[in-house]
């Protein structure tokens, strides 16, 4: 059985065999068949690829970290250098390499807010107060 940690950090090649960096993060979506006790199953939806810096992991852009601005502008820029590919654009993942399909098109990493529900702020226990917190 593969593990998420094996997918993360894997080199990504396009159809011509040119390197597109490595897998920086993996997006999963909860839209699969119903799993008793959990809800809809989690499907791997796509990968964020990029080169170098680990700054992507700080999630300044994707988590919507609000400040301070020098950090935000620096780390957002670094994070924007990464590109997102839907799992449909991936030809294969084996032998420790991810290969993209010919003509694979990147998408925006953060989907529009209407389709994306981020995890509840403050966790399950505090989520009740978050709306009344202010």
């Amino acid at each position: 059985m593969p593990r998420m940690s094996e997918l993360l950090g894997t080199p990504v090649l396009d159809a011509e065999g040119t390197s597109r960096g490595r897998v920086k993060d993996v997006r999963v979506v909860q839209d699969g068949p119903y799993v008793e006790g959990f809800g809809a199953a989690l499907r791997v939806e796509g990968i964020l690829t990029g080169r170098g810096t680990a700054a992507v992991l700080l999630g300044f852009d994707r988590a919507g970290v609000k400040g301070p601005w020098p950090l935000v502008s620096l780390f957002r820029r670094l994070e924007h250098r990464a590109t997102y590919y839907s799992w449909e654009e991936i030809e294969t993942w084996d032998d420790g390499v991810v290969r993209l399909r010919a003509g694979a098109e990147p998408e925006a990493a953060t989907p529009a807010p209407s389709t994306s529900t981020t995890p509840t702020p403050g966790g399950s226990s505090a989520s009740g107060d978050s709306s009344t917190g202010s």
Binding site: D25, Q30, G59, P119
Partner: protein, 129 residues
């Protein structure tokens, strides 16, 4: 199709595991994936020193630690794997519908509790007010 979306690194990996009684019982050290119908699914969580060691780059040590976890389990069950059906909530921590005794990290806690802590007077009492 719509549903909650998560980034593996940002929202799931390394989060605190909490059992059904609110007790801390390890971290999400990895996610287990499986192929079904040509798609890749998350089948459950991995926890325990073995998975952590693998992520830190020590594959052999990791496999060995996972084996130790299985070996010390009374039923030889693999409690380093937590199938999705036992995951009650994904938030800033991950809540399980299990008791912590059914999670791999309990092996270490139990061993230390029985062999060290139990021998010290007062280990079974909450602190004096």
């Amino acid at each position: 199709m719509s549903g909650r979306r998560f980034w593996a690194h940002l929202h799931l990996l390394d989060r605190q595991l909490v059992d059904r009684d609110g007790r801390l019982c390890g971290n999400v050290d990895d996610l287990e994936l499986e192929w079904r119908d040509g798609r890749l699914w998350v089948s459950g969580l991995r926890t325990g020193a073995g998975s952590l060691a693998r992520r830190l780059g020590a594959r052999v040590l990791g496999a060995w630690l996972d084996q130790v976890h299985r070996g010390v389990d009374p039923e030889r069950a693999d409690h380093t794997f937590i199938p999705l059906r036992h995951v009650a909530d994904l938030g800033d921590h991950v809540t399980l519908s299990l008791d912590r005794t059914e999670v791999a990290t309990w092996h270490g806690e139990r061993w230390v509790a029985d062999h060290v802590i139990a021998h010290i007077p007062g280990s079974g009492h909450a602190s004096d007010e």
